[in-house]
């Protein structure tokens, strides 16, 4: 288990970054270009830190406090910005993130100002993080099955269509902000507990850029994309120690290549291949493509198939 001890930091970062990535992925899955996850990550960290250091709560109560506060802040934010679309939502949430940084830096009696919080010696082990990551992944996976995943996809693809099917689009969007807050808050709180210190500028533009690339390069359709992105960006620097000084340049090249060649993310590209294979299989089946009879009478259907099958193919 020497390897684990030697790599404890990236292992911890894998979990906390995964949670942060999910806080970006989930709203994007619903079609909301929200970058608020970073600010909420910070809100989670600071609230749990304040609970631990000032209220003297124990580790897990503090973490839970961080989750709840971040979730509520996320919800409030959602109420205010949810009707913004596309880039404007992105801008507003970036602004929110930066405001969190300024508040953390200026509310000194509470947050320790620009020096930040320290001495938050939470008792969080690696296996705690592992279990939490698995539970969260399972919850997200459940939301990607059956009716729920169809409804979420409808909200993403076509809000008017979703409404026409009885889906309450605004409720779904607000829930996305709530979930984003909860999972980001969890990540931030856990990160503070294992790192023991934090400063306001940890949650600034730099982290926004990291989280955004992790989520989008991995693929926003599923939690699996968030995991893929997390693993790539957490472990690549570790394995490419040779890259060391040029890390930022290599990172930049990877990101540009991803934007060019994996427009739906790595996971999205994998899904795309799967879909194309299925379509090719269908085209290979030389039966009816789309000549469908109105009366599902077997004999008539077959007759129509043979007669019209050839010229109805596109």
């Amino acid at each position: 288990m020497n390897w684990i001890a030697a790599n404890i930091i990236p292992l911890q970062a894998t979990v906390t970054t995964f949670l942060l990535a999910l806080s970006f992925q989930f709203p994007m899955r619903l079609g909301l270009f929200s970058l608020a996850g970073v600010g909420l990550f910070g809100v989670g960290a600071y609230s749990s830190g304040i609970a631990f250091a000032k209220f003297h709560w124990d580790t897990w109560s503090s973490v839970a406090f961080g989750v709840v506060v971040a979730a509520l802040v996320g919800l409030l934010l959602g109420l205010v910005v949810a009707r913004l679309g596309g880039l404007y939502l992105a801008m507003a949430t970036i602004a929110f993130d930066m405001i969190v940084v300024v508040l953390a830096g200026n509310l000194t009696p509470l947050t320790g100002g620009y020096m930040g919080l320290f001495g938050i010696a939470g008792k969080v082990e690696l296996w705690h993080l592992g279990i939490i990551a698995v539970i969260v992944a399972v919850l997200f996976a459940l939301s990607e099955r059956g009716g729920m995943s169809r409804r979420i996809e409808a909200v993403h693809d076509d809000a008017a269509l979703a409404s026409s099917q009885g889906i309450n689009v605004s409720a779904y969007r607000l829930t996305a902000f709530l979930v984003s807050g909860a999972v980001a808050g969890l990540g931030g709180a856990l990160m503070l507990m294992v790192r023991n210190t934090t400063t306001p500028d940890a949650y600034g533009f730099g982290l926004i850029v990291v989280a955004l690339t992790v989520a989008i390069v991995g693929g926003t359709k599923s939690w699996i994309g968030a995991l893929i992105g997390t693993i790539i960006f957490t472990w690549l620097p570790v394995f490419l120690t040779v890259v060391g000084e040029w890390r930022e340049v290599v990172y930049g090249v990877i990101v540009v290549l991803a934007a060019l060649f994996f427009p739906t993310g790595i996971w999205g590209s994998i899904l795309g291949v799967r879909k194309r294979l299925a379509e090719r299989k269908h085209a290979g089946q030389r039966d009816v493509v789309d000549e469908m009879a109105t009366e599902p009478d077997a004999a008539e259907t077959e007759f129509l198939q043979t007669v019209a099958g050839k010229d109805s193919e596109q």
Partner: protein
């Protein structure tokens, strides 16, 4: 007091020069270039490399920076942004990937510069001085005055060009409805390259002038300005020349006077508060178009 106003005006001009190109590209051809700050910085870095071999007059430094900026921007558009947009089937995916692409490009440029300067600051070896001019009790450096004059001159020229010329009309058309523009024979790809070239030129120009003004900048200076640009553009309204002018100066004045008033720690929050409030109350800003496309 007058001195403070002058300082705020110079700060506003810097924001204006930096944001103008970004606003133009964003509001017309729809490219939100997250590498705009990196272009600003790298153009200046290129001049630093040149002048570390041989000192040059200030004007030449600025011109070279502007040209480098234009070239970088055109490369980005043809190799990355243009390709992303051509390949994309859906508008939102294209937007996201252009942003991601920009982030990557910025990282590459910042990475190179950081590596070369060991993340330290760099400046130009110029053959000129930067004299301090004094009139009516106000002190202002020659470069500061230049920045102010250049910013205003370019704004006026750009506003007139957009309103009066055919190119300007084409640009405005693309900004309102890209598909119809194409049907009307406007070559969007060439327009995009031209617009990005000009935006890059402005970024490089701003970089050159600011480096001389501040004596030195560092590899991350551009990114810091990026957020200010967002604030100025959103306040003024995306795509409006007058908007970005007003936005830049309002931002600069509020920041300057907050620092004067002793609440400097919160000054950096001004930009973000502006963005947030404007988007909630009036998303299109002061002079922007009401968003035609519903998201």
């Amino acid at each position: 007091m007058i001195q403070s106003i002058m300082n705020a005006a110079v700060l506003g001009s810097i924001y204006l020069l930096f944001s103008m190109g970004m606003s133009l590209a964003w509001g017309t051809v729809g490219i939100l270039n997250f590498a705009h700050g990196a272009i600003f910085m790298f153009s200046s870095f290129a001049v630093y490399l040149i002048t570390s071999m041989t000192a040059l007059p200030a004007i030449l430094c600025v011109i070279i920076a502007a040209l480098v900026g234009a070239i970088l921007s055109v490369l980005m558009q043809t190799l990355v942004y243009g390709v992303i947009r051509k390949r994309s089937t859906d508008h939102h995916a294209a937007e996201r990937n252009v942003i991601i692409g920009g982030i990557g490009l910025a990282a590459i440029l910042i990475g190179f510069a950081s590596h070369a300067t060991k993340s330290g600051s760099f400046g130009f070896a110029t053959t000129d001085q930067n004299p301090v001019l004094e009139f009516a009790g106000i002190r202002i450096t020659a470069v500061s005055l230049t920045i102010f004059v250049v910013a205003i001159a370019i704004s006026i020229a750009l506003a007139m060009w957009i309103r009066r010329s055919r190119g300007g009309l084409a640009l405005r058309t693309v900004g309102v409805d890209a598909e119809t523009a194409k049907l009307m024979g406007i070559n969007e790809s060439r327009l995009a390259i031209g617009t990005m070239a000009f935006a890059g030129l402005l970024a490089g120009l701003a970089g050159g002038l600011l480096t001389i003004h501040l004596v030195a900048i560092n590899p991350t200076t551009g990114d810091g300005l990026l957020l200010k640009a967002f604030a100025a553009i959103i306040l003024g309204g995306v795509g409006s020349v007058l908007g970005v002018v007003i936005g830049s100066f309002v931002l600069a004045f509020v920041e300057t006077f907050m620092i004067l008033g002793g609440v400097g720690g919160w000054a950096s929050a001004v930009a973000f508060a502006i963005i947030f409030l404007v988007l909630i109350i009036r998303p299109r800003g002061l002079f922007g178009r009401a968003e035609v496309r519903r998201t």
